[in-house]
Structures are given as structure tokens and as C-alpha cells.
Symmetry: D2
Subunit: 366 residues, 4 copies
């Protein structure tokens, strides 16, 4: 193996928890026995709708349409603790999703080489050791646990509306503003774009990309509505800073913006400022529902940029663990475009962020 | 005052610490007696160059050029603890910057009204109470404490190179890639853009904007070089997720992208992947120095989008605390464009992120 | 149900993690589907001996001798993640112990009433709701997860020796100092007292207590040897403060002392001080291996006081949920004295504390 | 200097924060420029009585009576932030106590040698470096910052009653149970024992010890009354576990027990259990106000054991930094018995623990 750049390995990992009072800790690798997590801090007395949790898992799972990976993973969740007689008890909710096809596959082509723009090389460098089966811990399969926790967070914050949808695939961009869209149409097509015409274009484009054995990037827009005024903890844990960190922690994400975002750079203050209505709402919403890191009650909206999936089904050059150049061939069943399956993940992370700030702000009293 | 939207106030704030092992906690309001902070976790034995700390503070401070706010604040830092005989002792470093002109000004126009796109309204809604002098805690003056801590983090990580510069002001964009730039020229002009021609254009544009009593947005590019392989703590505390959160916690920031960023969306996987050289470096660097949330030793580069400053020196409509519409006039000495002074803040937050991951990874042993 | 004392319920729980860099989070109730946990931060490359983990679980499990509860719980642990080819990978170790006899029992006598000196009442008051089966989350069954994690921590710190033993049962006290004892004899008797004569007396006494349907308290002495100099994080996270918190978090613990402990109160400084040898060791060790919150390399020794188990197999008066007085009868298979089974728990918590400080101090580099 | 036992130094310290939502971080060494801290999380709108803060500081400060150290330190606190117009704003409260006599003294006898049972040796071993003036960071002077924060926590929890008093000095023990004592008499004598007769005996004994140039240990009893039912976060952050950690983090503390404590070991379950009254209170209170880690509304009472102060004004043998034996003479103005001045510290830490659990449980809503 290539020598560690530091002369030694770091070896331990420390970042598998998210949130402070509604805290999710996850475990599990792509091809281990099971993955899952613990939610510490979910208030007692919440009637838990298990079907809704499974529904979100199904939206994330492989094999759901022709434009996503054709792997078969049932992704069915078992709740081990924290509920009694259908309600949460206030104690930690432990859950697991067992892997059913963990052994079958041949990973020898990954074992001894580093795939470009994957985490193979850095895992070996950091830990001196790696579970190479399907990417191990670096696989997006881990996000299944986030979807479970996010689905519970959504039920906790039943008044808040969480929506996410695909707003761009490669150069095909949905140009309708989010507030002119019908969110009930998001699930009406496999791309998860609420505009049928654009969705059809995107779907066709992804099919072409797939035929080429290639992949393509995309953008997901997230919208959080009916948010109470006052959530967010300046100066470091500003609502949008935590939201940004949440999104950037999702596999393949390269960028995050909220409200006016990067296009706000082009504006003058006199154009950008949101004028107040008498009730404290604003006539425009370039602030994106957050001022000074605290929610102001307007819609929170944001964009998340995803790079193209690194695994291409083509021949490519790379290096093996000894640093020798080799030519190899991408294979397996992979997503040509990650955004359709990432929509429920963006929603889940949004809900985790909001649930945590909610509890930080008010305990759980109604 | 407008009634709290929730029926009550949240009242407490909880997010004034950043980092886990190199942990900064800050205090202080724009016009309080002093602001400052505590760095907990700085290793012992570091020879501290106090002049370098003050130098970074001077780069952030008001009044340094014609295109920034003309307020006078000496911003001189006092170190209270954690050093002995010129070296750090491993114990917490407490420091303060005393405010010298805290009382003079008249804030009655702010006290009873909410400035658009400022944090006035949400602070009142969250805490039921607000220090209205100069924005109180929501003022960017708080970032002076970050610059102090960042300057110490830079000294700890003396092998790592932290640079930031202004790459866009309004529509004027620096199109030269960062690795063709001469970073020693960043400080050669008041805009802090390393390309003299673009800098001159930006400066002239900011002067015009200022004359209009208006403000304009901008972009800062950050570059971190000579980073060890292996920093970052997946799956939530990925290096770029923490870096993004750090940047988004800076006042006025609306977006963050690293590596290929939002433009990576347009690319195919076969174009976007970074091919390996034999030593583990890559021929291209669309990954932006981070793979799977862990540094790969290549340059880390990123962009941070700043909205235009909300305070415009023009007449505008807004509401007072009773929700009545009023017309008021912006006044005072404010920045027409925030990015020139934000450059050292971006560098400081970069250094805080790296120092923390460094200690998380290896303790302090050399 | 008695009205909440505050006018409302608190509802959420937030304290199910222990440690910062070797962090254990546990889940599970006495009679839920499973209990278990996640260890976040165990370094990569540790060869994991699963038999040793099960061995410690067996020392804690019910039914192992005539003087402990006769319940049957196999307590067999499944590791779900974080290991590959027999070694830890540096990623989170998720594990579960499935409950095999979760349904059978009749808990109607607990459901509607509050057992004295149990957590029934406070759980109802805090959460407005309670899993009453076998104490739910407040059951000492949760400590099985700690034993699993502690067994892994022991393997990580293979040079450090962790021992605990029963030094008192009711008034029967082992008066031999710990350093005159043969720790290999701890497991030679069901009481886990290394002095055979005292062990026999204790065992006989526990049998009598059991015959009376009563219970009795006890003391466990913990000894940690071969500890590196320098572990502990003043001023709040002193080694002995964290150790004390760890012990006090074990069910039924009422007190903790280390080194000279409460008897140190009686001494003069001139008697109590530990004189130095030339190599930095000390001639006496009243400090108990810790000075100023930092390990000094001498043996760390401490005592943990356990109250008598609250469940007595006798008739007693108490109140039901409406606050009415009722007479009821204790039943079931309970421990007459908790200390024999708590010995591995004390060891486990010791190992968790040391592993965390070890990683806090030095990362994982050898 | 003696070689580090590990082959290297750990160097960094990481434990200077206490609490999660009412979080105190402290800085400062015995003879640095200033010590102080930041309270992050104090709710907005609290009218702050600065005199009460100073009053508690005065109870802790040197020179207040003939039986404590005669050093002169005014210990006057400056509040830098987090208040406006006499009320807290919800933002961090930064404060400092400037050292007035930091330079004068000669510490050459400490600089090159290790005082027995002090932290000198372990600080050098951990950090490779030490501020030797007056013990540096390991000095109990740091607790002044805790007293400031505790005084604010007491004002936040104005309904809760915090009392602490000296219940033992050497062999002189106050045998009256706490609920038969008149707490208003605690401040009526320099020992801070509410029983005048015992106080006189203790005072006389301390005078004798002082004359001998020696020191003596003691016990402080803490009592927290009028506590809401439901505070505490099992399974790790049990109320008494956090309280124990708080007390054990105070300089010179060797033991902690609550409720029946170590004497509970001697009791049978049938004797130890607290029977319920109809309203959920209990007829006895061996539980010490905490069941299963959660407050039950009864008085919380506990004992804290302090060892004798290590600095004796006698001649003693020790080693220097090269490990050579030397004979030296204790000098300076030190406390013959630490407990009278530690009473406000025990109260302060109690209040910090309760304030944190209060906010964890209910946010700040009334």
C-alpha cells in the first residue's frame, strides 16, 4: 500500500452523530450485517406511524425505477427500542436495517486498487485499513439510517412541511420558482421533479447517460414551510449553517445555497432587502426564511448541488495499492444520476436540523 | 412589540462555541464593554507571535481604506491566560478586545423599529428583548474574536497555507483560476483581489456603489494548501461539511461550494473524475482536496457568497415594534461591500476548522 | 395519574451517550425487542476477540449462581458493523443483544402503581408515560450494553489492567488492602471477592438475606493499574471526576471515593502527602493515582457504594397512579444483592473512561 | 526534567467547559493577568443582581477571616457582555476577574521541583511545560469563575434553594441531620458550620492545625431544596452523576455520596426503601431526592470529602525536575483547611448542575 503521507495512520473516526437534543448516531457499512442508528432525544408520547417511515425508505431504495440502480435491497427497518404501545417513550430509539445480500459480490477489482474520485484512497490513508466491499462506510447506503430518523423527525414536527425535488439534471434546469410548483406532483414521476414536462426531459436525458455507461450531476431544491419564528442558535449554530452542514454531509454534495444564494452577490442592498409587512412577514423573501441565523417564519428554501456519481461503466486508468498504474473497467449496478433517490435524504436532513433546533428552543412542551 | 409568533419567547441562545478539540467560544456585542473569547485545546509549547494576531485583526478592522466603513475601532487584543514566557501552556487562552466608543451613538431609530433584512425582528421574537446598539450580538463585530483565534490556529498549523481573496464584486468576476494567481498580491490593494486589473475595477465599482448610498454583494475564494492526507470525520463531520458550516456562520453569507461546486452539476462522471498519479495525488482536482469527507492532500478550494450589506444610506419603508409602517433613513458609517474586510475572517474560520480536525486526528504529537 | 408537579411533562431524554472520542451511545429497555449500542471512535486495526466480550457479558448475566437472580437471559451479542476480517475498521461499531423472553410476564401490579425507591414515579412524572415492563429503560439490564463496550475498550488498552471486586456486603467488609490481594481469585467464587474466607461469609449472608425475601447493599472496589502518566482533562473533566460520574451512572450507586477518600478527611496534610521517589513514582499512594485530575502513573483505586436492591419479596404499602394507598407483594426473580453482578460493570465503565482519555490525549498513534 | 513516561507529551487540555445548555467555560491561571469565563445559554430577560454575585465571590475570597489564607485578592468581577439595561440578553455572558498581585512573588522553589501531592509533576509530564506561579491553572483560584457563574445560575433558579455548610473538620463531625439545622446561621461564623457549638470547636481546631504549620481535611454537606420533579437525563447523565462529577471537579475533593450514601450499604432493602405519601412525596428520603437519576421533588442532599491541603509550612523532602532528592520548606500564605472557603464553590457547582438540567428539560418557557 502507498505509504501514509503523515508517516502513520489516524485510525479513528469520530463524526457519526448529528444534532444535540434530537441526536442521531448511525452505524453500518454498505455490505456489513446491518446498518442502523440511535435517536437520542425524541420526546415521549409521539404516536409513531411506521408505514410512513418505510415509505420514505422506499423512496430512497434501489430498484424503484428504470433510471436508478437496479440493485435489490428491501431496506426494511426494525425498531428495537424507545416505543411502547405505539408511542415513543422518550428513551432512545434504536433501529436496524439488515443487509440481505451482503456476501455475494466479487470486489477483488476494488480491493487492490483505488477508484478515482471515490473515498478508497483516503480511507486507506486515514485508517490504514478499509472495508472495501461496496465502499464500506463511505457508501451512500448509510443514508438509509438518516431517512429513518428524518421520517420520525417529520412526525414530531407535524406542522412543518418538508419538501424537496429535483430542480436540475446536467444542463436541464427547472426554471419555475418553487412557489409556483405543485409539490403533490413530486412523486408522480421517477425523477422527482414536480414539473411534468421538465421531468420527462430529465428522465430521457438520464436514460441516455445511462446508455453511455456514464453519470451526470444534478441539483435538489429543498423547501421548509410553516416554520416557527425563532429557531437557530447564533453565532456559530445559525439555522442555515447547520442546514448547510447537514446537506454537505450527504454523499456527492459539492455546494449549498439558501435564499438568494450565489445570485444574491449580483444585487444591490436596495434591491436585495426584504421589506416588512405589518405582521412581521416580508413582501419578498431573498433572505430565504432566515435572518441573522434565526428563522423569521417565511419559507426556508435552498439548493444542493450533487456531482456526477464517480462510478462509470467504462474502461479507465487508475492506480493500485502499490501505486502502479492499471486499467480497469467499471461494473455493477449503479445510479446514472443520484438526485432522484437523494430527494428523501434532503428532506430527512432538513427535518433532523429543524427537530434539533425545535428542542433546543423549547424543550418539548406544547 | 409584535406578539411572539409562538405565544412565548425562546430566550436562550446556545451556539457560541465552534470546534471540539480546538474549541473557540466567543462573547460580546457590537457596543458592549468588550468582546472576546476562550480557546480551549490549544496545545502547549507553541511560541505565540502576538504581532501576527494583531496584523490579522488590522486586516479586518474598520477604517483601513476608503472603500470600507470609516468607523474608528482600534481592535487591540489582550491575552489574559494560557501563555507563559511567550509560549502556550496547554490551558485555555482567554482574550478580550475592549470597545472604546461604546456609548456615543444615537440608536433611537433602531431601538423602536426593525431594519429590513437585519436580525432585529428575529432577535426580538426569539429573546423577547434585544441589545439594539449597533446590532448587538448579531453584528459582524463578533468576528473580531474569530480572527484572533484563527490567527493562533494558523500559528499552530504553520505548515498549512491559508489564503483567501475577493474573486467577485457584483458582476465583476475574477476569471483566472486560483492556481494561476500570485497570493502575495492579495494585500497590495484595498479590495484584496490578487489580480491588479480586476482589483482596480472592483474598487472603482465599490466607490460608485458607496456614492449611491447603496451596497453590493461579493464572493471570496478560499484556498488551503499543504494539507495532510486524512483530515475529516465522516459521516457527518466531513471536512467540507464543517468548512461549509464555518463559512455559513459568517455574517451575510448565502452560499458555499467547494471543488467543482455548482458547476460540477453540469459534468458527466467520466469528465469529473480526478485521475490518480502514482503517488496518490491527482492530475485534476475537481474534488477540491476532499474525497468522502477526508482530505486527500490536494489543494482545498472553495467559494463563499456574500449578500449585499443590508444597511443602505437611503430612505426606506419598514415597520416599528408595534407593526406600524414607518419611513426612515439609513445612516452611519457602514461598509458598501463586505468582502474586503471578510477575507481574514474566511481565513480564520478555515484555520479553526483545520486545527480542530488536526487535533481530532492526531492529538498533538509531532 | 398524579398530576405533573410542573403542570406539564418534560418528555425527552438526552443523556444516553458516554465519552467524547471513544463514545458509547446505548438503547434498549428491559423487555423491548433488543438492547445495544454504538461505539463511535474505536480506532481501526484492533483485532477483536469476540469471546472475551461474551465472557464479560456472562459475568454480568442473570442465573449464573445461586445468589443472583434466577432469570434466564442468554445475553448474546451480535456485532453489526465496524469490523472487517476480524479487525475494527475505525467506523462505528453497532451491536445488539436480542431479548428472548420479552413478552411472557405479567406486569399489571407495576403498571398501575409506583414501587418505592424505584424510578416508576419519576419516569411517569418526567415523560407522562412509561414502559412499565421490568422497569423499562431504568432497568439495570441496560448495563449489558456497557459491558460490551467496556470489553472492547479493555482490548484497546491491552496494557492497562482493570480489576474490580466485592469488598463489602452489608456489614461484612474485606479489610485487606487491595495490593495484598490475589486478583486471579476474584472469579473463584460467586460473590467475586478475592479473599476466600470473606467471600464465603458474604455468600452465606446473601443466602440468608435472600431467604428473608430481603436485599442488602455492598461496595465494589475498582483498581486500574499500569496507567500512563498524563491522562485526564482539567479543570472540569478531571480523571477522577469522569470516573466518579461513570460509577454514579450505574444503577443503585450512592457514593464514590478514590484514593484516601472519605477517610482522607481525618488526616493532616503532613500525613496525607505522598512523597516522591526519584523516578516520579510515590512512596505512598493516598492520591489514588490521580493528582490535579491527571493520572500520575500510580494505581488508581476507588470504592463504589451500592444501595440494597429496591425490590423486596415481601408485602409492602405504596400508592397507585391515582395516589391511593395500596398494599402489594413483591414478586419475581430479583437479585438479593447487586454487587456480584455489578463487578464487570464497574470494570467496563473504568475501561470506557480510560479509553476516552487515552484518545483525547494522543489520538491513536503508537 | 524527568523524561515523559510515554516518550512524549500530550500537550493539550480539553476539559474547561461544564454543562450543555447552561454552559460555563473558564480560563485563567493563579497568577496570570486575569481569570474569567463565558456562560453560554443563560436565558434572556433575567434581572441580574451584581451585588449578589460579588457577595458569593467575597465568601470564597482569601483573607476573609483568621482561619483562611491571608493573601489579598480583591476578586472583583467585571461583566463584559450578555446584559443590557440590567437584564440578560440571552447572548453569552463574558466576565473577568483581574489579578492585582500577579508578579511580586518568588516561585523559584516551585519552578525547579515538584511539591508532593500537588499537580506540578503531572502538568510537566502532560504538557512538557508549566506555569509554575502559584500552581498556574491547577490552582483553586480558578474556582472564582465558577462562583460567578453559579451566582448567576442561582438567580435564574430563584425558586430553588441552594445551601452548603461545613459538616466535618478532621474528626470533629456535626452529627445533627441537615433538616434540623438553621441554615441562616451558616454565615454567622468563619467555619461556615450552622451549629455554633460545633463551629467553635472546628475553628479552634483549625487554629491549632495552622499553628503547627499543618493542614486538615473536611466535609461539606450540600442541600438543594424545592427542586422540580423530573430533572436529570438517564442513563449516563443522571442528576446525581452530574452532581458527583461537578463536586469531584473541585480541587482537593476525594469523595462524593448522596442520600444514604456509603451508609446505605449496611441497610436491607426493606429498611432503605422510601415509602410514598399520597402526593408522590416520600415519608423518608434515603434516596436523597433522586430516583433512577431523576429528581423526585424531595430534598437533594450530599456530602463532599476534601483532603487536607497539600501545602504544609514545614520542612519536607521531595524531588527536583532532574529527579534528585531535595529538602525544602513550605512557605507562603495558605489555607490550613479548605472547607470554609469551599462552601460557596459547592453551592455554585450545585446551581450550575441544576440550571443545566432545567434548560435541558424545559427550554426557558414559564
Amino acid at each position: 500500500m502507498l505509504k501514509p503521507k503523515f508517516g502513520f495512520y489516524f485510525k479513528n473516526m469520530a463524526g457519526n452523530s448529528f444534532g444535540e437534543l434530537f441526536k442521531l448516531t448511525t452505524f453500518g457499512e454498505s455490505h456489513g450485517r446491518a446498518l442502523g442508528g440511535i435517536i437520542d432525544g425524541c420526546p415521549a408520547g409521539l404516536e409513531l406511524d411506521l408505514e410512513k417511515i418505510q415509505l420514505d425508505l422506499n423512496r430512497r431504495k434501489p430498484g424503484q425505477s428504470a433510471i436508478v440502480t437496479q440493485r435489490k435491497e428491501p431496506d426494511s427497518v426494525e425498531i428495537y427500542s424507545g416505543t411502547f404501545e405505539g408511542k415513543t417513550t422518550g428513551t432512545p430509539i434504536g433501529f436496524a436495517i439488515h443487509n440481505t445480500n451482503q456476501k455475494s459480490k466479487d470486489y477483488s477489482h476494488i480491493k487492490d486498487s483505488y477508484r478515482p474520485s471515490h473515498a478508497d484512497y483516503v480511507y486507506d490513508q486515514k485508517y490504514g485499513f478499509r472495508d472495501y466491499r461496496g465502499g464500506g462506510r463511505s457508501s451512500a447506503r448509510e443514508t438509509a439510517s438518516r431517512v429513518v430518523a428524518g421520517a420520525i423527525a417529520k412526525q414530531l414536527l407535524s406542522d412543518v412541511k418538508f419538501n424537496a425535488f429535483v430542480s436540475q439534471v446536467g444542463e436541464i434546469e427547472l426554471e419555475v420558482p418553487y412557489n409556483k410548483l405543485d409539490f403533490t406532483k413530486i412523486e408522480s414521476n421517477p425523477v422527482r421533479c414536480p414539473d411534468p414536462k421538465t421531468a420527462a426531459d430529465m428522465e430521457e436525458y438520464i436514460r441516455q447517460i445511462k446508455k453511455q455507461g456514464d453519470t451526470i450531476g444534478g441539483v435538489i431544491t429543498g423547501v421548509i414551510q410553516n416554520v416557527p419564528v425563532g429557531l437557530g442558535e447564533p453565532v456559530f449554530d445559525k439555522l442555515h449553517a447547520r442546514l448547510g452542514a447537514a446537506m454537505l454531509s450527504i454523499n456527492a454534495v459539492k455546494g449549498f445555497e439558501y435564499g438568494s444564494g450565489f445570485s444574491g452577490v449580483l444585487m444591490k442592498g436596495s434591491e436585495h432587502n426584504d421589506a416588512f409587512n405589518s405582521d412581521g412577514t416580508t413582501t419578498t423573501n431573498r433572505s430565504g426564511g432566515v435572518q441573522g441565523g434565526i428563522s423569521n417564519g417565511m419559507d426556508i428554501y435552498f439548493k444542493v448541488a450533487f456531482k456526477p456519481v464517480a462510478t462509470v461503466l467504462q474502461s479507465y486508468e487508475t492506480i493500485n495499492k502499490e501505486g502502479e498504474k492499471i486499467t480497469t473497467q467499471g461494473k455493477g449496478r449503479h445510479d446514472p444520476c443520484v438526485v432522484p433517490r437523494a430527494v428523501p435524504i434532503v428532506e430527512a436532513m432538513s427535518a433532523l436540523v429543524l427537530a434539533d433546533f425545535w428542542l433546543l428552543s423549547r424543550g418539548n412542551k406544547k
